[in-house]
């Protein structure tokens, strides 16, 4: 091998080591969830479970009613994603298609709304929702609040996708007799489909982990999502680490699987929209 090859392999080894250090918390979550109750508190800690057990998983699934929590998370995330994609895609398209002072104003509004912290918005939203009677439909209320939080970011990312669709294709379709709406639905949307899909998945994953709105607005345990369910036994004085790590592992494994499968697309979707 030449020196160049050796250097490349050396860099690869360092890169893998850095990734291993960075991903250690995830590894530690899985390893802890597989340890028995004495091994968890062993000193020195074991970095590989000596006697792996999976007891914590069925236990935490049953006692913490994870099926209910997770289905609520899916319902909330699906609602947020639906509203965000349906309203956000059209908005992103128009912001990408034209260039004038109104578009600049619209873009400015979207960028500014993107920065509002949920912890700022939750107080007025809660009070307003209680005045409007929306608190009787707490999951709907959370979906509306979280969709408003997710949409600006979605618009910024999807707008970048629409910018890559050549305008000429749309114009050609209209010359051939398609209406504006027809050209949008039959030409532009199919071409931007992949970008929209990636951003929709990102929106879904973010909403799947949403916490602050759900914690503040949903009081009935049967309607709460998995993040709130986790918060009932996590805090500065947690003891049940085996249960917490098993809960966390069940909660995030689907997200991690989707991420690993779509990693390349997610990263390129983020880089194209976020800054460039």
């Amino acid at each position: 091998m030449s020196t160049r090859d050796w250097k490349e392999w050396g860099l690869l080894a360092i890169a893998l080591a850095l990734a291993a250090v960075y991903l250690f918390p995830l590894y530690w979550m899985y390893v802890t969830s597989l340890k028995n109750s004495t091994e968890i508190f062993a000193n020195p800690p074991t970095f590989w479970p000596q006697a792996p057990v999976v007891d914590a998983f069925p236990m935490v699934w049953e006692t913490r009613t994870m099926a209910t929590y997770l289905s609520n998370s899916v319902i909330i995330a699906a609602g947020v994603t639906a509203i965000t994609v349906i309203l956000g895609s059209g908005c992103a398209y128009v912001l990408a298609r034209y260039r004038n002072i109104w578009i600049d104003v619209g873009l400015f509004v979207v960028l500014m709304l993107q920065v509002l912290p949920a912890s700022v918005m939750v107080t007025p939203l809660f009070v307003a929702f209680s005045q409007l009677g929306l608190l009787s439909f707490p999951r709907t209320a959370v979906v509306l609040a979280a969709a408003a939080k997710a949409m600006p970011f979605f618009v910024v990312l999807v707008r970048a996708t629409f910018m890559t669709v050549p305008r000429e294709l749309e114009e050609a379709a209209m010359v051939d007799g398609a209406s504006r709406a027809g050209a949008f639905f039959r030409i532009v949307l199919p071409l931007a489909r992949n970008g929209i899909l990636v951003c929709a998945i990102l929106t879904f994953m973010t909403a799947f982990g949403e916490y602050i709105y759900s914690k503040s607005i949903i009081q009935t345990p049967a309607l709460q999502p998995a993040s709130v369910g986790l918060s009932t036994f996590v805090g500065p004085n947690s003891r049940d680490w085996s249960g917490i790590m098993a809960y966390a592992a069940i909660y995030v494994t689907p997200i991690l699987a989707i991420f690993v499968l779509l990693q390349r697309r997610i990263v390129s979707g983020l880089t194209s929209g976020a800054l460039k």
Binding site: A15, P45, D104, V115, M121, T123, S130, A147, L230, K276
Partner: protein, 300 residues
């Protein structure tokens, strides 16, 4: 009527409908609440008048009451430390990793992409995992630091007032590091290679190339990354309930968690609104920098 339908199907009406629907939604569920929040910070809000919009105006007395709270300056100091510590850590480590992964070796892009996994994890789960890693008696971080000879006795990260805020900062650095790295990588990618080659011909060393080429060319990217970091740090909420709940004795309390506690633990909505309006001023300052530095890129 017919003209309206025609316009929506095949004219400007179509565009106005598309953008109008989204903007109306955003105004209803983000714009109006924002204004309402400012209004509430000037009102007297209690359980009896919660249901009405017309509450007695009290001028600046909510603000005076918040500032007069004994923990106000502690929270302000903690918020500043949380922001500076988090952004500093994320930026320095993220920049280092971005520079490393900008080198040419097999698998660089794929391995770099793995770091982004932190970005899709629920904040509460990240907080729970770090809460376990940072645990005092059985935490693995204490074990590693002991083995490396950095500390002699265990640090009680979550219950020692001088470390509690740092426990959350460490978790937040982990969480934001990947995004910093990704955005800085995009910026590095955009620097023409010829600049470096020309500098090399002129005899510039690695440090000089970094200082005189990389940093100046990346100026707008760095501005965007730092202001986004400030925005994201002020948005960070989930780690606090999971790791310290602002304790012990408010030693890790920051404005965003304080505002939430005022509203949802003490049911003092006026106080919650007031704290969050004060925080908002900081966020808006950051977003002006952000919008300015992304302006030409976003307009594309």
């Amino acid at each position: 009527m017919n003209r309206l339908v025609r316009s929506v199907r095949d004219g400007t009406g179509f565009d106005i409908l598309l953008i109008g629907a989204a903007l109306l939604f955003l105004i209803a569920f983000a714009g109006v609440p924002l204004v309402y929040n400012v209004l509430m910070s000037f009102q007297q809000v209690d359980m009896f008048n919660l249901g009405t919009f017309f509450r007695p105006l009290v001028g600046l007395s909510n603000y005076a009451a918040v500032v007069a709270q004994p923990e106000f300056w502690l929270v302000a100091r903690n918020t500043l430390l949380f922001v500076v510590g988090s952004i500093g850590g994320q930026f320095v480590l993220g920049f280092g990793l971005a520079l490393f992964f900008a080198r040419d070796f097999p698998g660089a892009a794929t391995i770099r992409g793995l770091f982004l996994v932190s970005w899709v994890m629920p904040g509460l789960v990240v907080g729970a995992i770090w809460g376990w890693i940072l645990a005092g008696d059985f935490g693995v971080l204490n074990y590693m630091l002991r083995q490396l000879g950095i500390i002699e006795a265990n640090i009680f990260w979550k219950s020692d007032p001088s470390f509690a805020l740092w426990a959350v900062i460490i978790a937040n650095i982990w969480l934001g590091l990947a995004f910093n790295m990704l955005l800085l990588s995009v910026g590095l990618h955009g620097i023409p290679r010829e600049l470096y080659e020309a500098a090399r011909v002129d005899g510039a060393n690695a440090w000089q190339r970094f200082w005189h080429i990389t940093l100046p060319v990346m100026r707008s990217t760095i501005g965007a990354v730092l202001s986004l970091g400030l925005i994201a740090t002020l948005q960070q909420f989930d780690l606090f309930p999971a790791i310290t709940e602002g304790g012990p004795a408010n030693s890790s309390m920051v404005s965003q968690y304080w505002a939430w506690q005022a509203s949802f633990k003490l049911y003092d909505f006026a106080k919650g609104a007031t704290i969050s309006v004060m925080m908002l001023v900081l966020v808006l300052l950051a977003s002006v920098v952000y919008v300015r530095s992304t302006r030409h890129e976003v307009r594309g």
